[in-house]
């Protein structure tokens, strides 16, 4: 039986692993320093020069409600991931980038079936499309369209 396969770019933020559909990922770079800009929309923290233009930096951990897991370590695997959703280019700093995984639709499960679901600290359910198991880890698929919509189109001037 043929099953549809999707390519996911895997990242880690804090103790959680996430998957981003590969078509939304432009590049992963070593951490690019940002420039602070006052009065940005909620969950944004500065701008980053990429490809001779500035792109906004979105704090995914804040947006997902897992900011408590931000840690400070001397050796860092942090990366800046350049994303493009619906024509908007933006970036996020993540704690680790992993491989691109090809996952068949049949392996994608409802978030509610995850063993971690219901934990006191858990990524916001409304930004997750599902999850899959990969190399003994639960990987949560980010709903990039929703995330983009809520970050850029909703709540202006709040």
């Amino acid at each position: 039986m043929n099953t549809h396969v999707q390519n996911f770019f895997e990242i880690r933020i804090g103790r959680f692993f996430f998957a981003i559909q590969a078509q939304y990922v432009r590049r992963a770079l070593p951490v690019v320093p940002h420039i602070d800009v006052p009065l940005m929309r909620p969950n944004f923290g500065g701008i980053v020069l990429y490809n001779k233009r500035f792109v906004p930096k979105l704090f995914l951990d804040s947006l997902l409600g897992i900011g408590l897991y931000r840690t400070s370590v001397t050796v860092t695997t942090d990366s800046t991931v350049i994303l493009e959703v619906d024509g908007t280019v933006f970036c996020s700093t993540v704690n680790e980038v992993d491989t691109v995984a090809s996952i068949g639709d049949s392996h994608i499960m409802a978030v509610e079936k995850s063993p971690e679901f219901g934990s006191p600290i858990f990524p916001r359910r409304d930004y997750l499309l599902g999850y899959f198991e990969h190399r003994q880890k639960s990987i949560y698929i980010l709903d990039m369209l929703r995330l983009h919509h809520d970050s850029f189109a909703v709540g202006r001037n709040v």
Partner: protein, 157 residues
């Protein structure tokens, strides 16, 4: 969004320090720069809009540091007051408070800001390179309008 753009007619920009962060403002429209000592009674610093005595009357004085949520200007330190006037628009004469004025420079190349991520997209014009980094060029007329809106919405005007 376009890449780096060359300004057709170079911009004359004043680099100022507001609450410890550098910004640029176009010199066009700036009528006077005054260094104000802490004891000077001509200035009243308020959280958003205070006042400055100018040409026999009082004009609004924007506390930009407070608006930008940066280290706020206080009456304990010398401040610089920049009087701004744009006769071709409906915006009245007003003043802004800065911690320091670093100097004037010509800007020939700018990079746009990603305005879609800004709370108030009209208060910034672009960025330009300065001392190996980039600083933001402010749109003072729109900032004045936003500050007035903000103060009105809080019922303080």
């Amino acid at each position: 969004m376009s890449d780096t753009s060359t300004v057709q007619n170079k911009l004359d920009v004043l680099v100022i320090d507001i609450g410890g962060k550098l910004f640029g403002v176009e010199t066009l429209g700036i009528k006077r720069i005054a260094e104000i000592l802490p004891e000077d009674p001509s200035v009243i610093i308020e959280p958003y809009l205070g006042s400055y005595q100018f040409q026999g009357g009082k004009i609004p004085l924007i506390n930009l540091a407070n608006f930008f949520k940066l280290g706020s200007a206080t009456r304990l330190e010398t401040i610089y007051v920049l009087v701004c006037s744009y006769p071709e628009t409906h915006v009245e004469t007003f003043a802004i408070a800065a911690s320091k004025v670093l100097g004037k420079l010509p800007v020939v190349s700018t990079i746009p800001l990603p305005l879609e991520a800004m709370l108030y997209p009209d208060i910034y014009k672009c960025t330009f390179e300065f001392n190996g980094s980039y600083i933001i060029l402010l749109d003072l007329q729109h900032i004045f309008e936003r500050v007035v809106e903000l103060v009105r919405s809080e019922g303080a005007l």
